[in-house]
């Protein structure tokens, strides 16, 4: 039974299973080929199943539907004979957990993905509904449009489909397999570490494969050895207690939108270099092997500028791949008063900016928050954490409310030369040919929480196309990326 598909197989009669198991070994079919055959044969049916999964709304503001996602995923595991359960904490979306134990297996491989999606503004979506998946052809390639099509239900669906493909081809699993599918990654994974900690025995593995994010913009398969950390601050500045007539008080009553512009403008120079003191202090330098990998990676900048309609880029000429190895400060949103048809001649009472800070190894998120807060203070602001009272506003010439995001985490980087890293690279190359190796991805995944709780390393194997509008309206997945992803997952599932 050693060479069977673990727990899945155990449900079949022993004799039948043994016979079935001999077939692929005799044919010698490889996992990626089996996956290709399987997806080619079942394409329409798979697309329908994926579409059904994408139809279940999965935003943090809608916990009932998040729970529905978890239940459906658990059922999908159960149907495949995978021992599954929900790992839960009160007030947090559950982690969907599945395990396949292969008797005699030497290793355990954990597949991480997440089933929740970024918040949506339906009016910004073509068709108006992020949860009614639509297939459209773009430049000759078919794509499916829905929230989480790329980030990150694609990975979950590819893993499930890879299991089916291996089973249909009677290719046995060799290692124990664990699935850990999170439900609040887009909210910063505030409970992941606690949930994992409470279930250490379940989630320990020789490696955590993090299946999230996009492949290289060139379309080449990527293996990534880390991710930037992420934290947020919300900054609100105060003008008059209520909107004032801009004629009667303009020039005299301070305008919080202008104050915010001045504050934010001081945080970066015109090339995008962050001016907050100490912002770049402590960065752990790249190793020789990481630098070499980076030097070999495709430079897609010119293509990307055209794709994104960009007339210039930040970074004083540095390439994208160099720049994502630096910490960043990004304004996610600005609001003050009204613009457009609703704009009125007022001095608005408040102005707010939401910013995210991406982190690299060597910089702690609390420290980076504090550096920005210290900068705000250095510009003459009295800092408060909750809505300031009249007394507070009158007692200080300038008041800033700064809300720190507690659901933050640090960057992580796994050395590329670990034996397990080399094995993962080989498996992915088996499925996809030459791969692009990157020290870090620009996006963030709570790798640190996983590494601490599971006491292991993480390696990221993404499958989505880079232009999947992840985190924005009209998120999508190139269907070919899904089919390729099934092959990649099959190769990884089959690892020793």
């Amino acid at each position: 039974m050693k060479a069977t598909l673990g727990a899945v197989r155990l449900r079949l009669g022993t004799v039948g299973t043994l016979l079935l198991c001999l077939a692929p070994m005799l044919r010698g079919q490889m996992a990626p080929d089996a996956a290709r055959d399987y997806t080619a044969k079942h394409k329409a049916e798979l697309l329908q199943q994926f579409s059904d999964l994408l139809s279940i709304p999965n935003v943090a503001a809608d916990p009932a539907n998040l729970r529905r996602n978890a239940d459906v995923l658990r059922e999908m595991l159960r149907k495949r004979g995978v021992d599954s359960r929900l790992l839960s904490l009160p007030g947090a979306p559950s982690v969907v957990y599945g395990q396949i134990s292969v008797p005699g297996a030497q290793h355990t491989i954990v597949f991480y993905a997440h089933y929740d999606g970024q918040p949506v503004t339906p009016s910004e979506w073509e068709g108006g509904s992020p949860f009614t998946p639509v297939v459209r052809e773009v430049d000759g390639a078919r794509r499916i449009y829905a929230r989480s099509a790329g980030d990150d239900k694609a990975a979950i669906f590819a893993q499930l489909t890879a299991l089916d493909a291996l089973r249909e081809a009677h290719i046995p699993l060799k290692a124990n397999i664990r699935f850990v599918w999170e439900g609040e990654e887009e909210a910063g994974s505030p409970h992941l570490e606690q949930i994992l900690d409470a279930n250490r025995d379940l989630i320990h593995g020789d490696v955590w494969l993090v299946c999230d994010g996009p492949v290289d913009q060139s379309g080449k398969q990527t293996v990534v050895f880390g991710a930037r950390g992420d934290t947020h601050l919300q900054i609100t500045l105060y003008g008059p207690h209520h909107g004032l007539h801009s004629g009667h008080y303009g020039n005299w009553a301070p305008n919080p939108a202008m104050m915010l512009a001045q504050l934010l403008a001081g945080m970066k120079d015109e090339n995008g270099r962050v001016l907050v003191p100490h912002f770049y202090d402590g960065i752990a330098p790249l190793s020789a092997i990481e630098k070499e990998a980076l030097a070999k990676a495709p430079v897609n900048d010119t293509m990307l500028m055209k794709a994104f309609w960009l007339g210039h880029t930040d970074g004083s000429g540095a390439h994208l791949l160099e720049l994502i190895n630096q910490p960043s400060l990004n304004i996610n949103g600005l609001s003050s008063g009204q613009t457009g048809a609703k704009a009125a001649n007022v001095i608005p009472p408040t102005a707010t900016a939401d910013i995210d800070l991406r982190l690299v190894v060597g910089i702690d998120w609390r420290e980076q928050q504090q550096r920005v807060i210290d900068f705000i203070r250095s510009r003459g602001y009295f800092i408060v954490e909750s809505e300031p009272s009249r007394e507070t506003l009158l007692a200080h010439s300038r008041v800033a409310r700064v809300v720190r995001d507690p659901a933050s985490y640090n960057a992580v980087r796994t050395p590329m030369d670990l034996p397990i890293a080399q094995e993962v690279i080989r498996a992915v190359e088996q499925a996809r040919g030459e791969v692009v190796l990157l020290p870090t991805m620009g996006g963030s995944v709570p790798l640190g929480a996983m590494e601490r709780a599971a006491r292991t390393h993480t390696i990221t194997v993404p499958i989505a196309n880079y232009d999947d509008n992840q985190h924005a309206a009209n998120e999508n997945l190139r269907l070919q990326n899904l089919w390729d992803g099934v092959g990649t997952m099959a190769a990884l599932l089959e690892m020793q």
Copy 2:
């Protein structure tokens, strides 16, 4: 018939009218006293009538209801026997016009007000509805809350009520009276001059009394001899064509919110002084009499800072009244991406600011727009007026779309020592005692259009309380200001 209430009286039988008209002359009652008696006697009924008028929505986005306002006002004039009509142009809200011709009158006095209101965001209003008037007591004084309670239906209602009060007290009018009530003042009066030009014979007068804006913050009655001009620009900057993941592209893809912050921050120093080159060039200096009036006016700055919860003011220590005699640059609104619960980790595709530029005598609005646009260009932006194409965005490192508001107008100032100015001051003093004389109000009224079309001077006599939340949510009018306003209007209606 000479000494009767003009056209209103003409409808009564001649003998009865003559008898009625003798009474006030015999009693010698003054117009402000008559107004006080009248409002005291009819308070509840007047409040109901005012509330009914405020219930009719009056925003530019709702032309059907703007038309209803015009029809109702015309009917209110008609009921009072005032010869009334709508002065219209296709596509523009009508001017409601009324005239009372007093046989043998030497002068004609034109009362201007406007019946439209600023745009509303109902969710920002206590109770959620700007058009369901509510009376609340604030610090011992009753106020009525609704859009246009202060700006500017109060003035219209005070004029109508003053007419009634004079009639009830049998006080005759001495001058011809004209009412010109506009329906798109809050949209910048784009058609007013054209409408007035087409009706020059109707609207000519010895003086236009502009009944708009608030009285001095001290509560003292104010007579104002000018208003700042006003123009707007909408500035949109461009980042990536669609929202990009801030992790994968942060540090590399330019963030339009940060670009906008940097652009706007360069427009003002930290004391609110505008840094746009030539912004203050050409200002016509105040005359000796204007400076003297300004020096006598109350300084309310400390009281206002407390009322508005302000910990500092712009202007390097200059008083509000000095500062509103300067041009201003105010951000009405900022928007980019989303803030708060909807904030996502994106680099937003665009960032927009709506700004208004207040003007003083000596600076033309087109010139002031151009100065700001030249500044934007000097910061490296290629300027377009409509949505830029992909080609345009790729061809220029930075692109700004700047939309100029065509409905703009210049500042106007009437010399305080003109004979008609002195007469107006005397009439208002008769009603309200000592008055505050100001060279200009901070807010804007299209006085220039009136002066050009009517070939006359304008003098502004406001009645609203300063803290009426004009242009913002929870607009209101202190009821005492309404009753006082009826007295002021009665005194002005009775002018020679």
